[in-house]
């Protein structure tokens, strides 16, 4: 059953230098219990598209879409009040910097309890009980004492666990995790990702994992969307993506993984930089950096073509890439 | 050596074109704020007014027209028609206000120059030497700050005697802590940066590091503070003038003008209203300019 349907989502920011299109024509389909990973570099628009879904963008952002439906509700025309009823309850989001995402003035218990009070109307005793349950669930020891702790007394990993507890407090149908482990120590990263995947299984919720770490994608995702410069360029099942990447960008990303270059002298890189506001190429946005680019690539922007469970935005996709090494 | 001269000329040329580039960039951001530009224009106007007072003032500010005491503002060419009216002694308000620009600008300028020069030296010395030098300087500044500015200025003028010069000195002393603190804190922030270490490694001496390497990078907040202090100095000078401790009559300082005519404020309100309006407009213009300066110099706001 389709939980989330997005068609042709675009986000434009008003800046001094004119309008900047951060997200360009994104399509998304998520069912219950899906685990989707959105991959891309910084500036690919992966975070902005999810923030647009949540309604968390600043006033300078102009969000347009053909369709944006969550569990039957039309998110495009919904009123702010209606939106606030589902945000934090049915859809939740956790962010990259857990240390600064918690309010330094209030205790952990207070901040988790707020969601419970707002959406579920629990009384103080029930809230306390539920908070302790949640902290146990996310693996925080000595939960009852922790309720009285202030955010600055927690480590990065603990803060992120608290954020996760807050996000799942009302048993959401969809959890969006925006680079949840990037700002954490390497040893903690794996723990947090594992926690998210476990919770997703236990609670039967859909999880969207935004990341730039292909290793995480390989281990956790079922579906993968690759984004570049605000556009979706490829979508595939995870195994297929890693075995037979069809878009040159995906191909180059995978090549750049150290694990895949053990037999080489130098690490492959992708030359050039992601286009910003002022230097958007004509035609395919990746063409200036693409090693397989041909003449027609910079004439027109390729459209997104879907076949079955996968999609691709390329005039000359890679066929039969030999990934057997 | 020819290489040296060519090199240094090239560097010199690059420096001056970089300066021009910085100025252009600065003007771009500054002029984004129309109000800041208006403020600047107004300030330029006031400066011109001060410079050309002898020419543009319709009357001599000290001449008393005994037949035209306390005349309301009237236009026209009759004998007792004065654009801003006359004061208790029959002097032309407009001319007195125009000449007053000189006193206010001088007061503001003096205060800023004194505060910048002394404040920067103290701030840099405190920031560079640290230790007990730092502690002593900062405690002195804290002491000055613990007394409200006007009160401190009053006490100082009580010691030094009333008059515009003493008022300026007193006001400068009360503003000094702000400049010292600001210099010291940006100095300390900058001095832990790597370009300073690079300078030291290259063999730069103490003096050079303090004033040539680090100081220019601390100037932005100081410039903003200087602008704000300019406007506040005009206000405080007027306040002291109003209390009788600043510029003494018959000097046409705006605050003194208000004090002189206070007894007639109900019967001849123009004598009090116009000087105050002059103060307000001058201070407003400088504050608008200062806001624009702050926005233009603040790196956080810059959009590339």
């Amino acid at each position: 059953m389709s939980l989330l349907e997005i068609r042709n989502l675009s986000v434009e920011f008003q800046t001094v230098a004119g309008n900047f299109r951060a997200v360009d024509g994104v399509d998304l389909d998520i069912n219950e219990t899906d685990l989707l990973s959105i991959v891309g570099e910084s500036g690919s628009g992966k975070s902005v598209s999810m923030l647009a879904l949540m309604g968390l963008l600043p006033w300078t952002a102009n969000v347009t879409a053909d369709k944006m439906e969550f569990a039957g509700l039309d998110l495009l025309t919904i009123s702010s009040r209606e939106r606030r009823k589902i945000i934090g309850k049915d859809i939740s989001m956790i962010f990259q910097e857990p240390m600064s995402s918690l309010n330094p003035c209030f205790t952990v218990g207070f901040q988790i309890g707020e969601s419970l009070k707002q959406h579920l109307g629990l009384d103080r005793k029930a809230r306390k009980k539920r908070c302790i349950e949640l902290l146990d669930l996310v693996g925080i020891p000595a939960a009852e004492e922790r309720l009285k702790a202030f955010p600055h007394q927690l480590s990065g990993g603990m803060s992120q666990r608290v954020m996760i507890a807050m996000a799942i407090a009302c048993n959401p149908k969809l959890l969006i995790a925006d680079e949840p482990s990037t700002a954490l120590d390497v040893t903690i990263q794996a723990q947090i990702i594992d926690l998210l995947v476990d919770l997703q299984n236990e609670k039967g919720m859909a999880l969207v994992l935004i990341t730039h770490d292909m290793g995480v994608v390989a281990e956790t995702a079922k579906q993968v969307i690759v984004m570049y410069a605000g556009q979706q360029v490829e979508q595939q099942q995870v195994d297929a993506l890693f075995a037979t990447p069809r878009h040159p960008y995906t191909h180059a990303l995978l090549n750049a993984l150290p694990e895949r270059s053990l037999h080489l002298d130098r690490l492959p890189t992708i030359e050039g930089v992601v286009p910003g506001a002022g230097d958007r190429p004509s035609g395919c946005l990746f063409s200036p950096r693409c090693e397989f680019a041909q003449d027609d690539c910079n004439q027109a922007v390729p459209a997104m073509e879907s076949t079955g469970g996968s999609a691709l935005r390329c005039f000359h996709p890679i066929e039969n890439a030999d990934r057997g090494q | 050596m020819s290489d040296g001269t060519v090199g240094s000329v090239a560097i010199g040329a690059r420096k001056s074109s970089m300066l021009r580039q910085n100025l252009k960039e600065f003007w771009y951001y500054f002029s984004e704020s129309k109000t800041a530009v208006i403020g600047l224009a107004f300030l330029v106007g006031i400066i011109l007014m001060a410079l050309t007072a002898d020419v543009i003032a319709p009357h001599d500010p000290t001449v008393q027209y005994r037949d035209c005491l306390e005349q309301p503002p009237t236009l026209g060419a009759d004998k007792c028609n004065f654009a801003f009216g006359t004061d208790y002694a029959g002097r032309d308000m407009l001319s007195r206000i125009i000449y007053g620009t000189r006193l206010s600008l001088v007061a503001g300028g003096m205060v800023v120059i004194l505060c910048l020069s002394i404040g920067i030296v103290f701030g840099v010395v405190a920031g560079y030497f640290r230790g007990w030098v730092d502690i002593v300087i900062m405690r002195i500044m804290d002491t000055i700050l613990s007394v409200p500015g006007l009160l401190m200025a009053l006490v100082l003028v009580a010691i030094l005697g009333p008059g515009l010069l003493n008022a300026m000195i007193a006001i400068s002393i009360t503003y000094l802590p702000h400049f010292v603190r600001l210099t010291r804190s940006s100095y300390m922030t900058e001095s832990s940066k790597e370009y300073v270490i690079a300078s030291k490694v290259a063999g730069a001496g103490k003096f050079r590091i303090m004033f040539i390497t680090i100081l220019p990078n601390c100037m932005a907040p100081l410039i903003v503070q200087a602008t704000l202090s300019f406007s506040t100095a005009i206000l405080d000078t007027a306040a002291l003038g109003f209390l009788g401790m600043g510029a003494q009559p018959p000097a046409p300082e705006w605050g003194t003008l208000i004090a002189e005519n206070r007894d007639l404020m109900l019967s001849a309100p123009w004598t009090v209203t116009f000087p105050g309006l002059a103060i307000l407009l001058a201070v407003l213009a400088i504050n608008l300019m200062g806001d624009g300066l702050r926005d233009a110099l603040d790196p956080k706001m810059k959009r590339s």
Binding site: S92, P104 | L150
Partner: protein, 337 residues
């Protein structure tokens, strides 16, 4: 918490000495003969001079005089007024409540109006409300306060006759002093119309004194809020689906409060300076007017004593502000050094 308080008090000690040094030195720095200045007599005979010098303690070495001075201060002896021959502390305490009353109402006005409009301007950033509020606030603190006062008197008292020109209460009423706060005393006295008269007299001075703090508080609240609004935890609060009132009024404001309280604390000094001018204009019988009078009448002990007292009061207020910080943002309590 206790350590925090001790810490803050310890920092004040050097300032205390600094201020006492300044006020002590003030008399020594006066032009002319300090003995003549303090004794209030001129052309004294050498014997009289020596007599006064001994009486005033001016024959002892300077450092000893200073220590005596500080010792006296700590025992509440701030010297005696040359004019009235009464202890300075007594004179100060008599007049202080009038200044407090005016200052508190002015500050209340500034905070009650300034903070909300600052928040409003931040939330409605870029709109005409924001620009209008900021424009007005700019005009507000660019004005000379004494001119503003005179202008209001001209309009409201002179032209329209709506408010009294000066004083704390109409001379028709004789309210016995209980607390020194006329509003309270008027209520206590039960005299009909006394309270109303006191309130009536308070309107213009409060507006005049409160204008500049209001403008500054509005501005600084707005900029503090703007900074906080771009923080991650505000995004988290919004992501939880909390109402805007809660997001801005609780989550954001709590963090902005540090800056706002700092600003309010800083305004106390401005209020004192403003009080000097406001009391002069409205003939308000408070500390400000007293200090001016003392300066003009060469009552140097009064000026010296007033300086120290005012500085001490401001230090106390700053201490309270510091303590409030710790309460509002616990991070400061735990990490303060």
């Amino acid at each position: 918490m206790f350590v925090f308080v001790l810490n803050r008090i310890a920092l004040l000690i050097p300032i205390f000495f600094g201020v006492t040094l300044v006020s002590f030195g003030f008399i020594r720095m006066l032009p002319g003969d300090p003995v003549a200045a303090l004794a209030g007599e001129r052309d004294m005979t050498p014997e009289r001079h020596a007599e006064m010098m001994a009486k005033l303690g001016l024959d002892k070495p300077a450092w000893q005089q200073y220590l005596d001075y500080v010792w006296n201060l700590l025992h509440g002896d701030f010297g005696t007024s040359v004019l009235t021959n009464r202890p300075i502390l007594d004179e100060f305490m008599e007049l202080f409540p009038a200044t407090i009353e005016l200052g508190v109402t002015a500050m209340a006005l500034a905070v009650i109006i300034g903070v909300p409009i600052g928040i409003f301007a931040a939330v409605k950033r870029g709109t005409i409300f924001d620009q209008g509020i900021m424009g007005l606030s700019l005009v507000g603190y660019s004005m000379p306060i004494f001119w503003w006062g005179l202008l209001l008197i001209i309009l409201f008292s002179g032209v329209w006759g709506l408010t009294p020109i000066s004083g704390r209460i109409s001379f028709l009423y004789d309210v016995p002093t209980v607390t020194g706060f006329l509003l309270i005393d008027a209520l206590l006295s039960g005299e009909e119309g006394a309270f109303a008269s006191a309130m009536h007299h308070m309107i213009l001075p409060t507006i005049v004194l409160g204008t500049i703090p209001l403008a500054i508080i509005a501005r600084q609240t707005r900029s503090a809020m703007l900074e906080v609004l771009s923080e991650d935890y505000v995004r988290t609060a919004r992501a939880k689906g909390l109402s805007p009132l809660r997001v801005y009024g609780l989550h954001a404001l709590r963090n902005a409060m540090i800056t706002v309280i700092t600003v309010i604390g800083l305004q106390v000094g401005t209020l004192m300076a403003g009080a000097i001018l406001t009391e002069t204009i409205f003939s308000w019988p408070g500390i400000g007017k007293w200090i001016i009078f003392s300066v003009f009448s060469r009552d140097y002990y009064a000026v010296q004593g007033g300086l120290v007292l005012i500085a001490m009061i401001i230090m106390a207020v700053n201490l309270i502000v510091d303590l409030l910080y710790g309460l509002i943002n616990p991070r400061i309590l735990h990490t303060s050094s």
